[in-house]
Amino acid sequence: MLQRYLDPAVLAGISSLDLLAKTVVDGFVAGLHRSPDFGFSQEFAEYRAYTPGDDLRHVDWNLYARTERCYIKRYRGETNSQLTILLDASNSMQYTSGPPTKMDYARFIAASLFYLGIHNQRDAAGLIVFDDEVRDYIRPSTRPGQLARLFAGLERAEPRARTNYARPLEHFRNFLHRRGIAIVISDFYEDPETIIHTIAPLRFHGHEVILFHILDPEEIRPDFKGPALLVDLETETRMEVIPEYVKTSYRAKVDAHIETLRDKARAAGLDYQLLITDRPLDAALREYLTMRQEGN
């Protein structure tokens, strides 16, 4: 029953991102992901023998009293991760073959993740909306009202201009010093090598980087009944194409692009997730979170 409401086409009719995110997240899980780091949480992880240089505050003195051996207690990290979503708002994101647009789908995903992070995990969450420059920046925070600010930022993110990954990522590096999760949501119409080359440095700064590749099903398997005049949404370049090419060469190129991007992302230690706009949102999130849990 609930699944029906998670259909992207149905969600596109929900104007409130708050309600949409609540619907998606509460519908399937609460807090599936964990912090990959050990920290100060109350959740015990393991004992480890003391080695010189360890913080004496972590020694389990009760155990030492019983056994006269020093052991260090280790705990799983608490919800103090910092989630930052980099949302591509270039013109290409407004493409659609049917509701929702790629931009809307990206908003739904981002809203769901914000809700999941702030409401369920109490993570700090922030947003960077970019095209060929940074258009909107909401600093990650756990302050009350942050979720509303993020949703408002998503609402304001209307597609325009072209994509340029270099500038927003530079901005990101300049302003975010604390490690956390960085999620880049884009249709990645760029050379995979360039994309990875631009994004991979985030990983070097200790960030966990996830690429959400959003594509419309028509972009993967376009259906042309005859020759058509195509217009590039970003450059407004026109080109006449024939259906035979679209059915053969184009599909091979798109598949190769996706495959290359996935391979290079994994090679660079980035998580990659392909999201098709006709897939239910909860299924996409579940798939991703399950994959992360298994990865831990």
């Binding site: 994101m93 249709d187 195509l230 217009v231 590039d232 080109m239 006449e240 692009h257």
Partner: protein, 678 residues
């Protein structure tokens, strides 16, 4: 091929719509946005031709659809040959007039007609008609051989007089309704006497092609006949030579001079025979006396010896009714004694009258029963005893007849008895020192009948009228008017009887009519008309009509008719309702009228049928040539009429429907979703 509504072809201008859509707009395509052209390559390949090919097919279908719809509105038709052998109607007319009884004319004509009928194509429509006293269509235009042969075989020789003018009128009416070319085959003896006075009456319309089949070619055979008989219908005293004289005219057509025995036959018995010398192609008169007639009806016949090829016309029949002199009640005013004298003298002078006048004053008429009199005359007697007036009304209603003469009393008393009307005024022409004359006379009225009235208006122009009452004619028939239009003789039917009104007197004071010879003729014919003796006996011609009852609303009893063959030509229903009877056969008819009177009437064929001379060759050629030449000039029209227009509307609509379906299917293919092939 043509169009019944060609102005709708203007709708073909709509062909420009698909032309515009397909030829002018086919290169206009809406740009299709994509996220990026990163993976696309520019291409214009041969596959474009497929699109054009399909679009051209759609274009052709749309053109066809518009074209067919416009054609459907224009309603095209083609002329197609009629299913019936080029659409012509074969009209076979068989002459069965009296002259066809001569020799083997009728049987020959019938055989030829049957042979023609058998030789015609079986799918050709044919119609059978008989030309006798009138043109009788025996069938509808049909192809059924058996029915046509039966109709032709049922035609028997008749006693009527053929008239090609009647045939012309009937065929013209038929051509109006048939609307198809007609092949008219006339099987006749082409008798010259059947040609009407106006040749134009027998000319046929252009689509009628006349083929003559003359069964009496050559010189007409000699034929003697009793051309006419002048005999009294009623006789009172056979020994009175003036009353009992019978004059017969024996005529010869194309005959040499000959001596013929002429006999008078009464009730089947030859009572007198005379020898008559008939000159070549001439006439002679023979006179007999009806000495031995019995009381009642006598069936009489004038017969001549045979010896010619047409024995059917050798006798002429007539009936004579012998009775005691009938009384005529003459009611006059007290002071009027002159009118009875004048009227009685005229009645007595009439050759065929056998009446006894009984003059009485109005007061004396109280106890008289009008039904005991042949008819009643009211001379200036406007004031009648009520009992007598009542009896007179009943008498008229039952079929009795009254003559009313309005004298000077009309000036004092407006109401006219019996007439159910009043005098509007009395006009005294003598006061103006001038008298009126009689202007118009209806010579077809039985009381005034004259075959050929002279320039003196049949003798009436000399009559001077000094005094006349003006009577509203109403429903009465005006038989004569004065020069100023005042009705002077009127005839009104009341019940079964008639009332003849003379708007002036009989006393030689209000007019001088009694002094003129025409007065005797008037009184004689009026007496015969009012007494009804004319209807009850005498002779008529074949195809004449006899009035059986007075009016539709008549409540009198039924009539009874026995024809010469002893059959009853009227059904029981017709005997109660029929107004008149057509005398179709020659011989004696016995009739019992609705008013109770009996009659025996001798009926003879028209003697013009006895002249067997055929039409001249020139006339025949002119007749047949006129129709054929007109037919040739209208050949195109005739051939067009033979080819009937057949509308193609349904076929065009069907094609338009198919085009619409094909267009819908093809267009939906272009608009539909292509199946994934990869």
């Amino acid at each position: 091929m043509g169009f019944l509504a060609p102005w709708f072809l203007g709708g073909l201008a709509a062909l420009g719509v698909p032309v515009f859509v397909h030829l002018l707009r086919k290169h206009i395509s809406v740009p299709r946005p994509v996220s990026s052209l990163m993976f696309f390559e520019h291409g214009k390949q041969s596959s474009t031709r497929h699109r054009r090919l399909r679009y051209l097919l759609l274009f052709a279908l749309r053109l066809a659809l518009v074209l067919l719809v416009a054609l459907a509105f224009a309603n095209p038709f083609i002329r197609r040959a009629s299913t019936h052998a080029n659409g012509r109607l074969l009209l076979i007319v068989l002459d069965n007039s009296f002259s066809m009884r001569a020799g083997t004319r009728f049987s020959d004509a019938k055989q030829q007609a049957l042979a023609l009928l058998a030789a015609r194509p079986h799918d050709e429509r044919a119609q059978i008609a008989a030309l006798g006293g009138e043109v009788e269509l025996l069938t509808q235009p049909i192809t059924d051989d058996a029915q046509l042969r039966a109709a032709l075989a049922s035609i028997e020789p008749g006693d009527g007089r053929g008239n090609f003018g009647e045939l012309g009128r009937a065929v013209r009416a038929l051509a109006e309704t048939a609307r198809a070319p007609i092949d008219l085959h006339l099987f006749s003896d082409m008798q010259h006497s059947a040609v009407p006075a106006n040749f134009g009456d027998m000319v046929f319309p252009s689509q009628v092609k006349l083929m003559l089949h003359n069964v009496a070619s050559g010189v007409a055979p000699p034929n003697w006949t009793v051309e006419s008989v002048n005999a009294p219908a009623q006789i009172a005293d056979p020994k009175d030579p003036k009353q009992s004289r019978v004059e017969a005219v024996v005529a010869g057509f194309n005959t040499p001079a000959a001596s013929k025995n002429v006999s008078l036959v009464i009730n089947g018995k030859v009572v007198a025979t005379q020898r008559a010398d008939v000159p070549a192609d001439g006439r002679t008169k023979v006179t007999f006396s009806l000495l031995n007639v019995a009381y009642g009806f006598n069936r009489c016949e004038i017969r001549i010896d045979g010896g010619d090829s047409f024995p059917a016309d050798d006798a002429t029949v007539f009936s004579v009714r012998r009775s005691d002199p009938e009384r005529v009640l003459f009611v006059h005013a007290n002071l009027d004694t002159r009118s009875a004298v004048y009227f009685g003298a005229a009645l007595e002078a009439a050759a065929q009258s056998s009446y006894v006048l009984q003059p009485v004053t109005a007061e004396q008429a109280t106890d008289l029963d009008p039904s005991r009199f042949a008819f009643v005359v009211l001379s200036d007697a406007l004031t009648l005893p009520s009992i007598f007036e009542h009896a007179l009304n009943a008498y008229v209603a039952r079929g009795g007849n009254v003559l009313i003469a309005l004298g000077t009393s009309a000036a004092h008393r407006a109401r006219v008895p019996i007439w159910s009307g009043e005098t509007q005024e009395a006009r005294d022409y003598a006061r103006d020192s001038s008298s009126a004359t009689i202007g118009q006379i209806d010579f077809s009225h039985p009381a005034l009948i004259q075959d050929q009235p002279g320039r003196d208006n049949g003798g009436w122009s000399e009559v001077k009228v000094n005094y006349a009452a003006i009577v509203d004619p109403g429903s009465a028939r005006v038989a004569a008017r004065l020069a100023d239009g005042t009705p002077i003789v009127l005839d009104k039917q009341i019940g079964e009887g008639h009332v003849l009104l003379l708007a002036s007197g009989l006393d030689n004071l209000t007019n001088d009519l009694p002094l003129h010879p025409v007065f005797v003729a008037f009184v004689d014919r009026a007496a015969r008309y009012l007494s009804g003796s004319e209807r009850l006996s005498g002779s008529r011609l074949v195809d004449a009509y006899v009035q059986l009852r007075a009016g539709q609303e008549s409540t009198a009893g039924s009539v009874e008719v026995i024809d010469p063959d002893g059959h009853r030509p009227l059904t029981l229903g017709e005997e109660r309702t029929a107004q008149s009877l057509r005398l179709e056969k020659a011989g004696f008819y016995r009739i019992h009228f609705a008013n109770g009177h009996d009659a025996v009437i001798g009926v003879n064929p028209d003697r013009r049928e006895s002249d067997l001379a055929p039409m001249q060759e020139d006339t025949l050629k002119l007749w047949s040539g006129s129709s054929s030449s007109e037919g040739n000039s209208a050949a195109a029209a005739a051939s067009n009429e033979g080819r009937q227009p057949v509308s193609l509307w349904w076929y065009v609509i069907l094609l338009a429907l198919l085009a619409a379906i094909a267009e819908t299917v093809l267009a939906s293919r272009h608009l539909g979703t292509l199946r994934e092939e990869a």
